[in-house]
């Protein structure tokens, strides 16, 4: 008989011989999540009150306008892909970050009357991407310029998608290839195709195994957390910048905790190790 998630949880708790609102082994994580939430809300509030933090330059995001402008001058399309994972995948936040940047790219394409080709592998992402592009063309007052062909569903098969996207890049001679999202083995196939068409390539991912390929094969690359900062960077919205400040504070605390943990452990004290595994 297959256990349901509730049965499994009960069994786990029975084995641990304890009863608590928060599952054993997740108490530290839950506390950190609550603290982070409070920190982010505080930073948002502080930013709203006028203490707007500055954000460092991200050349990859600055280059998007240049890439779209170049495509416009050449009369060739821009290719965009938000990665290959579905919205329910554990790496879906990368897809959402990609869709945020797609919104910006679609806005630029609408503004400059540039052709946009968005290739999509997963069906649920296709539906959202189609709406994102349509909304941005509408917002730019270019609803009549929007074409359904701008967002192309390819098929939920990894290498079938890669083959089709590579073919589209060659046949349509894209002048810019922008790929922000979660990638697997197909990343190099796509970026090399983009390189061979001679276009500007802007990529980004938080999938560490694929980052080396993206870095060597593209002109600009957003690494890890940079893809999540894109929305704040492009909008310069004080509220979103406040969240970035909170993220940096959290990062500093994490680094401090790691150093303290290493030092404590070096002297035989396991307090921090016990704390984080609570």
């Amino acid at each position: 008989m297959q256990l349901t998630s509730r049965d499994a949880r009960r069994t786990q708790i029975d084995n641990q011989g304890g009863v608590s609102m928060i599952a054993a082994g997740k108490q530290f994580s839950f506390s950190v999540l609550v603290l982070l939430f409070v920190l982010f809300v505080y930073c948002i509030d502080s930013s709203r009150k006028g203490k707007v933090p500055s954000i460092r330059k991200l050349p990859a995001l600055d280059a998007i306008e240049e890439a779209v402008g170049r495509a416009t001058e050449m009369g060739r399309p821009v290719h965009f892909s938000p990665g290959i994972v579905e919205l329910t995948h554990e790496r879906a936040p990368q897809t959402l970050a990609g869709l945020s940047i797609l919104s910006y790219v679609a806005g630029l394409c609408a503004k400059y009357d540039t052709d946009l080709i968005t290739t999509i592998m997963m069906p649920d992402v296709y539906v959202v991407a189609e709406d994102v592009v349509k909304q941005r063309f509408l917002a730019e007052g270019k609803a009549s310029q929007y074409k359904p062909e701008m967002v192309r569903f390819i098929g939920a098969e990894q290498f079938a998608y890669a083959a089709a996207a590579v073919g589209i890049m060659y046949r349509e001679q894209v002048a810019a290839n922008i790929m922000i999202g979660a990638w697997y083995a197909e990343s190099l196939l796509l970026t090399e195709a983009g390189a061979q068409t001679g276009g500007i390539q802007i990529t980004g991912s938080a999938t560490v195994a694929q980052l080396p390929f993206l870095v060597v094969a593209s002109d600009y690359c957003l690494i890890g957390e940079e893809i999540y900062a894109a929305s704040a960077y492009l909008s310069r919205d004080p509220v979103e910048l406040g969240v970035i400040l909170g993220q940096d504070i959290a990062k500093a605390v994490t680094i401090g905790l790691m150093i303290a943990g290493a030092l404590f452990l070096a002297f035989g004290n396991e307090t921090i190790v016990n704390l984080v595994t609570m």
Binding site: M21, A156, E157, Y228, S231, G246
Partner: protein, 200 residues
Amino acid sequence: MTVIALVMILDFFIGDSTALDWINDTAVITRSWGIVISAFAMGLGAINLLRRHSRSIVRRDDNAFYSFLLVASMLVMIVLGVASGTESPGYDFMFSNILSPASSTMYASIAFYIVTAAYRSFSARNLEGWLLLITAVIVMLGKAPIGSVISDFFPVASNWIESVPNTAGMRAIMMGAALGVISSAVKMFLGLDKSYLGQR
């Protein structure tokens, strides 16, 4: 969306309290909705594909032949799958003898793309380029049998590069990305960021 997000977060963290079983039940139902929505999305995607390529065939575009192949393959697989099931010999034949070899071919071609990407990036025009080139040469010699024949230094240095600086860098990126995910989640949770829906 905020309510659903809250339910999913609590479902991950809650312990054994019977009073909170409704959270688990709600999370299970929500996940089922996700599956149903994905299935409908697949239908919409298939319609998009058929519409675009049928138009290409009717207009006799330059690539109409490829569009015809795509539509024909799609229809054959749909008919085979619906009529005889995905376990049937006909469906299995098409899958094992067309799709699998084609996917393997695409995967294998990555080896050649690695060479062209490496050729471009190992140009050593600046300090970073030189560092990348030297590191790549050490790692390649450390992995290839000839490296240990030349010197024992290469396998040792290669392993050190992979296990120390490379692992440290990857972990740093992963931790930064994890915080980025949480910050994005908070923005969405509070309804502050709707750019992924095409809204400003």
